[in-house]
């Protein structure tokens, strides 16, 4: 049974409880008073399928699939406008990230969601050497949507790349593996431990 199915079984039509238990800061969702200030404050709100207020309402209305497969929370740019303004002091930004993370864990992220893709690229890049390889990340990003597209984007950003190199912000030699953090082994150990803790936490609440 997939984690997703397990969760469906476990929280049978109480999505709010599922969110409370599994999503970072999820216990705040019930405290939203539906004023709409967050939706009105979000600079990207109009590009979202469901602005934050609606997401919270949908969680309470038990619209599990619609919420978790939504691209909305992936649209959050962490500008914190909503958090600052929410009269109920909900950590909205964090909840958005929490929801995105939970959807990812359950394998429900919409295919080709660009933010999700980028996040994955960033993560993979970071994990290799314990630091971000700007050149490789940039390249990977350019070619995210196929080779032809990648070349085009690369050409367009040529000047930017040159300037970064000039100022030492990017080293062309990094393409050959790139350098790592001082204690790469230690870094991996830290990450492993973190994963263990996270898994334990999930095991406690989830499947």
């Amino acid at each position: 049974m997939s984690t997703n199915q397990a969760m469906v079984e476990k929280y049978r039509n109480n999505f709010l409880k599922e969110v409370e238990a599994n999503v970072e800061e999820g216990e705040w969702v019930k405290m939203c008073m539906q004023c709409g200030v967050c939706s009105g404050s979000c600079p990207l709100g109009k590009f979202w399928d469901h602005p934050p207020q609606e997401i919270f309402m949908m969680i309470r209305a038990g619209k599990r699939d619609e919420v978790l497969t939504s691209s909305s929370m992936w649209m959050c740019t962490s500008c914190y406008n909503c958090i600052v303004r929410c009269p109920r002091e909900l950590p909205i930004t964090h909840i958005m990230h929490g929801l995105a993370h939970y959807a990812k864990r359950l394998g429900l992220v919409p295919q080709n969601q660009p933010t999700a893709k980028f996040a994955q690229l960033f993560w993979d890049n970071l994990m290799k050497k314990g630091r971000v390889n700007e050149l490789k990340l940039g390249m990977a990003l350019y070619f995210m949507n196929g080779f032809g597209e990648g070349v085009k984007v690369a050409m367009k950003n040529q000047k930017l790349g040159m300037n970064m190199m000039k100022t030492g912000r990017m080293n062309p030699m990094e393409i050959l593996g790139g350098h790592a953090v001082k204690d790469l082994g230690g870094f991996h150990k830290v990450m492993k431990k973190a994963q263990e803790l996270e898994d334990a936490r999930i095991a406690k609440h989830g499947a």
Binding site: L16, M31, M57, R60, A61, R88, E89
Partner: protein, 761 residues
């Protein structure tokens, strides 16, 4: 020689008056034209020395009638408080120099303005008398509280605590009224101080309703006499000397005397039978919020059972605003203001008993008034009550369960949910007697349709609560939606029946906490009324005024205008059908005086003459002088202070205006207008308070009565062959600082356009 009038005048030259005006000239106007020989100047009349100057004259028996020519009558009232003499005040500071620009070109007209105010004050003072108590007064400290609910009980307890004996009359067989069946009450206190808002700890929870404790306190109080199953079958008299017959079901009637009365009859729950769309009456599993309290009380902390089959309730839906905030016939158009917090509380009953119970509150706007309101909402959210912004359209009973159809207002979709039990958040209907003016409305209706509608209203009128034997009807007048009237902001407990105060949901919908606060306020007012009556002093807004209306019987034509127009029902009729004034019911508005066509009603300190003579005293330049005269009669509660404030704010006023304060626009006699037009005034501006539903009139109906009376002024103007624009009536609020002055200036402009009045003799 106690009756000999001795006049004295005092001109202040301080505050710039001496620099801006020719004081010698003022003094000469006062002595020669005003005929007040004993006239003194002082450079700061309100100083201890200035006041002493006046006081010494009075004490030496040299002054019984004084004119103070200084600042506005609204300024320095403490310094110039000479209650043992008659006093008029010429407003030279706010009324003249502060409203007029400096400069030689303005000097002549500004001085003329000041001269006129001196003439007017001298004319007024000649007709003033020092008010003397009528001898009608009595101190009766006992209060009557009608209504045995939380409001009435609080009122009784508060009065007793202040040392005033109380009779508490309850319609029901036990105390508690509509609140008697509460299982718990909405908390009175917000989250403890120092609890950071965001952390949501220690939020207030439903608490013991406290009704039993209140009843015990009442029973233990030696000052409170409780009458159960009681009705007031007759109330007569006036503040200080009310007499009420209290009849009990067993047939006994006692008559008691009271100083003042508090009506705290609370509300009646809305009849949910008018909500068939929510299946009320079709299935016992749809209950009102009032009925749910009984269920909860019966369960007493155990699982709440649904009425149909006794099954434990596993899911419950609350429908907010059921039959409220809606214009549908039979619905209440207003928000009852207590049902949102009530539903939060009730939803928490279910959660406290069974956290797994599906508890949904369908709301449109969740309104949580009071200090604890918002915290309590969060408290409910924390208990995992689901709050869904949605509008319920229908409840159907199907297969042992209920289906609630609603529109989700956030997700904008029609949807439905299942529930074992549905609770309707129904509202409060004021528990009042019939509107005393309902009969009058039938008589006054112009068309047959209106008459029929008015008659219908009369037919469904509830039985009387107070049974007043007032000429104007048996109960407290109502304002909107059947609530007893009260001014929400400025004078909340005052009704149009002096000495009878309305407290609690009978005057507007409210929750228990507010009702308790209301009861405290109304009781204070009732105590004041009893004490004022004993002193012969007026109640709000002329507290301390010892004058009262008297009338010259020989002149009275028994037209009854006064008995009809008095906003406070103060005037009854005697056996010979003459008006019978009840001094302590009177609020001293003067509406009767303005109404009387034969001008026989007057006060010692306010009469047709005190104003009429001021109007006459103004110097009237001839038609070719290019100096028109504009008379402004301004309500002393709003328009006059607005003009004073305009002066302080540096607004400018036409030098041709002469402003006379009146107690209420309702006191304006048409004779003043006719006389003014006949003596050559070019324009008349009448400024009263806002009237009708959103009234600001301190005498509630005074301004409305005036408007009605003045609507006929056009005829007078036409008879005189004058342009109708010459007389205008305005509603002016105390905040209309710029506008008040502007309206008068506009009249000056109008006069300039249409020309001077030809009536200058």
């Amino acid at each position: 020689m106690a009756d000999e009038k001795k006049f004295a005048g005092y001109i202040c030259t301080g505050c710039g008056i001496g620099e801006r005006l020719d004081a010698k000239q003022l003094q000469s106007v006062m002595t020669r034209e005003g005929k007040i020989a004993n006239c003194k100047q002082h450079e700061m009349l309100c100083s201890a020395e200035g006041v002493k100057l006046i006081r010494d004259d009075i004490d030496a028996g040299n002054a019984t009638h004084i004119v103070i020519a200084a600042c506005s009558r609204r300024a320095k009232v403490e310094a110039f408080s000479f209650t043992d003499v008659a006093m008029s005040r010429a407003n030279l500071r706010e009324g003249v120099i502060w409203l007029r620009p400096e400069g030689d070109e303005h000097q002549e007209t500004t001085q003329e303005m000041a001269d006129d105010y001196i003439r007017m004050a001298c004319a007024e003072v000649k007709f003033l008398k020092v008010p003397k108590p009528s001898g009608e007064q009595a101190l009766n400290k006992t209060l009557l509280v009608v209504g045995g609910g939380v409001t009435g009980m609080t009122s009784a307890l508060e009065a007793a605590k202040a040392g005033y004996p109380v009779h508490l009359a309850a319609e029901e067989g036990r105390l508690g009224g509509v609140w008697a069946d509460l299982y718990k009450r909405v908390p009175f206190r917000a989250a403890a101080l120092g609890v950071p808002n965001g952390r949501d700890v220690d939020l207030p929870q439903p608490e013991d309703p406290g009704i039993d404790a209140m009843i015990a306190e009442i029973e233990a109080s030696p000052l409170i006499t409780v009458h159960l199953n009681a009705k007031i079958t007759r109330t007569s008299g006036a503040p200080g000397r009310f007499a009420a017959d209290i009849s009990t079901e067993s047939g006994g009637t006692v008559t008691e005397n009271f100083g003042a009365i508090v009506q705290a009859t609370d509300f009646k729950p809305y009849d949910a039978n008018q909500l068939p769309e929510f299946a009320y009456g079709k299935t016992p599993d749809v209950v009102t919020n009032f009925e749910l309290e009984k269920l909860a009380k019966a369960a007493n902390g155990g699982p709440l059972k649904r009425p149909s089959d006794g099954k434990e309730v596993k899911s419950v839906a609350f429908i907010q605003c059921a039959g409220q905030r809606s214009t549908k016939p039979g619905h209440l158009p207003y928000c009852s203001g207590f049902c949102c917090t009530e539903s939060i509380k009730q939803a928490m009953y279910f959660k406290a008993q069974n956290p797994g119970c599906d508890t949904t509150v369908l709301f449109d706007d969740l309104r949580t008034p009071g200090a604890a309101g918002e915290d309590f909402y969060r408290s409910g959210q924390q208990a995992m009550v689901t709050f869904t912004k949605g509008k319920a359209s229908e409840v159907v009973s199907a297969g042992g369960s209920l289906k609630v159809k609603f529109k989700d207002l956030i997700l904008n979709e029609d949807t439905e949910m299942e529930a074992d039990l549905v609770v309707l958040a129904t509202g409060q209907v004021p528990h009042v007697g019939p509107d005393p003016y309902a009969q009058l409305a039938v008589d006054m209706a112009e068309t047959e349709e209106e008459k029929a509608a008015a008659r219908k209203k009369l037919e469904v009128a509830p039985p009387s609560i107070l049974n007043l034997d007032y000429r104007q009807g048996t109960d407290l007048p109502q304002l909107k939606h059947g609530f007893v009237d009260s001014h929400f902001i400025c004078f909340p407990y005052e009704t149009r029946r002096t000495g009878i105060y309305a407290a609690g949901p009978v005057r507007r919908p409210m929750d228990m906490k507010q009702a308790i606060e209301d009861a405290v306020g109304a009781t204070m007012k009732a105590i004041q009324a009893a004490e004022n009556a004993a002193r012969g002093s007026g109640a709000h807004p002329r507290v301390g005024d010892l004058s009262y209306p008297s009338f010259r019987k020989e002149g009275c034509t028994q037209c009854k205008r006064c008995t009809v127009e008095c906003p406070f029902g103060a005037i009854n009729e005697d056996e010979q059908r003459y008006p019978q004034f009840n001094e302590s019911r009177c609020r001293r508005c003067g509406t009767c005086m303005g109404a009387c066509p034969v001008r026989v009603i007057s006060f010692e300190n306010y009469s047709i003459d005190t104003v009429g003579q001021q109007i006459k005293a103004v110097d009237m330049p001839d038609e070719f002088s290019e100096k028109p005269r504009i008379l402004a009669l301004a309500c002393e509660n709003d328009a006059y202070p607005a003009l004073d404030m305009a002066a302080m704010a540096g607004e400018r006023l036409s030098p041709f205006a002469r402003v006379v304060p009146v107690r209420c626009l309702g006191s304006v006699s048409l004779s003043w207008i006719t006389d003014a037009l006949n003596s050559g005034y070019d324009g008349i501006v009448l400024m009263g308070c806002r009237r009708d539903d959103d009234y600001q009139c301190h005498f509630v109906r005074g301004s409305a009565m005036a408007a009605e009376r003045l609507s006929k002024v056009g005829d007078t103007l036409q008879q005189l062959n004058l342009e109708v624009e010459r007389v205008q009536v305005f509603e002016v609020a105390i905040t209309d600082i710029k506008r008040a002055a502007q309206l008068i200036n506009d009249m000056a402009a109008t006069v300039e356009k249409i020309g001077m009045s030809p009536f200058k003799f």
